[in-house]
Symmetry: C4
Subunit: 182 residues, 4 copies
Amino acid sequence: MFDRRQGKLSRSLRARLTRVNLFLCDVDGVLTDGTVWMGNGVETKRFHIRDGLGLRLLQRQGIKVGWISRRASSATTQRAEDLKIDFLHQTDANKVAAVESILGRTGLQWAEVCYVGDDIVDLGALKRAGVAVAVGDGLLEARKAAHYVTKARGGHGAIREVAELILKAQNKWRPLVDEYSS
Amino acid sequence: MFDRRQGKLSRSLRARLTRVNLFLCDVDGVLTDGTVWMGNGVETKRFHIRDGLGLRLLQRQGIKVGWISRRASSATTQRAEDLKIDFLHQTDANKVAAVESILGRTGLQWAEVCYVGDDIVDLGALKRAGVAVAVGDGLLEARKAAHYVTKARGGHGAIREVAELILKAQNKWRPLVDEYSS
Amino acid sequence: MFDRRQGKLSRSLRARLTRVNLFLCDVDGVLTDGTVWMGNGVETKRFHIRDGLGLRLLQRQGIKVGWISRRASSATTQRAEDLKIDFLHQTDANKVAAVESILGRTGLQWAEVCYVGDDIVDLGALKRAGVAVAVGDGLLEARKAAHYVTKARGGHGAIREVAELILKAQNKWRPLVDEYSS
Amino acid sequence: MFDRRQGKLSRSLRARLTRVNLFLCDVDGVLTDGTVWMGNGVETKRFHIRDGLGLRLLQRQGIKVGWISRRASSATTQRAEDLKIDFLHQTDANKVAAVESILGRTGLQWAEVCYVGDDIVDLGALKRAGVAVAVGDGLLEARKAAHYVTKARGGHGAIREVAELILKAQNKWRPLVDEYSS
C-alpha cells in the first residue's frame, strides 16, 4: 500500500492536500479494523504502529491531529494519550459539531481539514472537509463522498497512507527519509 | 461487501425481507469470526462495530434483535449489554426452542424472523425462518439451507450486510443516509 | 474449506481414516494460527469454535482426543478444560514419547492415530501416525511427511476439516447433520 | 512462504548469509504485524510461535539474537524473556547507535549482522548491515534498502523465513530436520 505513486493524484487533490493544517479522523474502522475485543468487562482495540508514526510525523511538521468518535472507549483514550493526540472527541454528539468546535479553538477553516471516515456517521464531516478520505473498506456511501479512497483498509495502514500523501504533497516527506537514512 | 446491488436479489427474497420484524442470529462465527481468545482464565471475543451499528439501526426502525448461542460466555453478554440487544439466549438447549420462546413472548411468527447462522447447530432454525441467512464462510450444510449467503464472512460485516438488506427492502435505508449526510 | 468432496480422497487415505480411534494434534499453529498475545505478563491464544465443535463431535462418536505441545501454556490448559480434552501433554519432552505414553494408557496402536502438526518438532509423530496431517500453512517438511494437507490454515478450521474427514469416512457425519436439522 | 527455493538466491546474497553471526531485528511490524492491542491500560502484542522457534534454532547454532525497538513496551520485554533473547534495546535513541553498542560488546562487525526492519526508522541500520532484510509489507523505502525482501509479512513468519535462509546458507538446516524426524 506504500507503493502508490503520487503522480497519479489529480492536480485538484494535490492542491487540496497542500492546504491541510488539521488532520481529523474517526476511530473505529479507520484507526482500527472496526473490531473490538470484549472480555472480563474490558474493551480492547487494535491500533497500527505505522499509523501512529504517520501521525507523529504530521505533528512534527506542524499539522494538528484530532480523533472524533461517537462511542466513548477507554481503549481509544489510552491510544490517544500514547500518541499525544491534540484533540479527542468521544461523545454521541454530531460529528460536524465536534469538528466545528475544534475549528473554533484553532481558528482554522474546513478547507484546511483532512477528514478520514468509514461509515454513515461520517458523511456530514466528509461533505465539508477540504480533503475528504474514506478507507478502502468503508461503506459505499462514505467512499462516494470522498476525494480519495485509501488503498489500505482501516486499521491496516490507511491513516499512514493519508499522512504520507499530505507530507509528500507538502514536500515534507523526502527530508524525513533523508534524516532517518543517515 | 457493501457494494451489493439490491436489484440482484430475487423478487421472492425481497418479499421475504419486507416481512421481517425480528432479527435473530447465532454469535460465534456470525457476530464473530468464530474465534475466542483465552488467557488468564478469561475468554475474549472480537465483535465488529459496523455490525453493531447495523443492529442499532434495525432497532431504531422497530425491528427487535436477539442472539442465540448454545455456549454461555460473559464476553457475549458484555457485547449484548453494550448494544442493548432485546433477547439473549445462551443455553445448550435446542435453538429452535429458544426462537419459539421469543416468538411466544412477542406474538410474532417464524415468517417474520430473519435468522443468521453458520454451523450445523443452526440448521433447525434456518429451515424454519422466513429469511434464512448463512455467513459466507459458513458450513456447506448451513449455506445450502439458506435463502441468502452473505458476501462478508462472519465477524467481518456479515450482520451489517443483512441489516442493510432488510432496511433497503423495507425502504428505511435511504432516510438514514440522508439524515447522517446533513 | 468445508466444500471438499470426500470422493477426491484416495482409497488408501479413506481406509486409513476408517481405522482412526485416537485424534492427536499439536497446539500452536494447528489449533491456533501460530500466534500468541503477550501483555501484562499474561499469554493469550486464539482458538476456533468450529474446531472445538469438531472435536466434541469426534468424542461423541467414541474417538478420544489429545493435544501435544512442547511449550507449556495456561491458555492451552484453559481451552483444553473448556473442551474436556481427554489427553493433554505440555512438556518439552519428545513428542513421539508423549504419543507412546498415550498409546500405552489406551492400548491403542500408531495405526489408529490421526496426528495433525505443522512444524519440524512434529516430524517424528507424523512419520509414525496412521493418518499424518499437516495444516495448509505448515512447514514444507511437515507437509511432505503428511498423508493429507488441509485446505484450511491452522487456527482457521484445519482441525474441523480433519474431524469431518474422519466422521465422513466412518459414516458418522450424515446422522449428525440429520439430528441437528430436525 | 516456507517453499522458497534457496537456489533462487543470488550468489552474492548467499555469501553474505554465510557470514552472519548476529541476528538483529526491529519489533513492531517485523516480529509483529505492526498492531498493538490497548485496553484497561495494558498494551498487548501478537508474536508468532514459528518465528520464536526460528530464533531458538539460530541461537542453538551459535548465532546471537537481539531486538531493537524505539518504543518501550512491557509486551516486548515479556516475549524477549520468554525466548531468552540475547540483546534487547528499547530506547528512543538512534538504532544505529544501538547496534554499534552491541557490536562493541560482542566484538563483531556490521558485515556479520543480519538486520530485519520495516519502516523509515530502520533505514540507517539497513544501510550498514551485512544482510539487510525488509519484511514483505514494509515501507517502500525499507524494501529498496534491503538485500532481501521476505515473502512473508511481518508477524506472519517473516523472521522464521530469514532464520531458515541463514541456517540453510550455513548448512545447518538439514541436520536439524533430520534430528526432529527421527
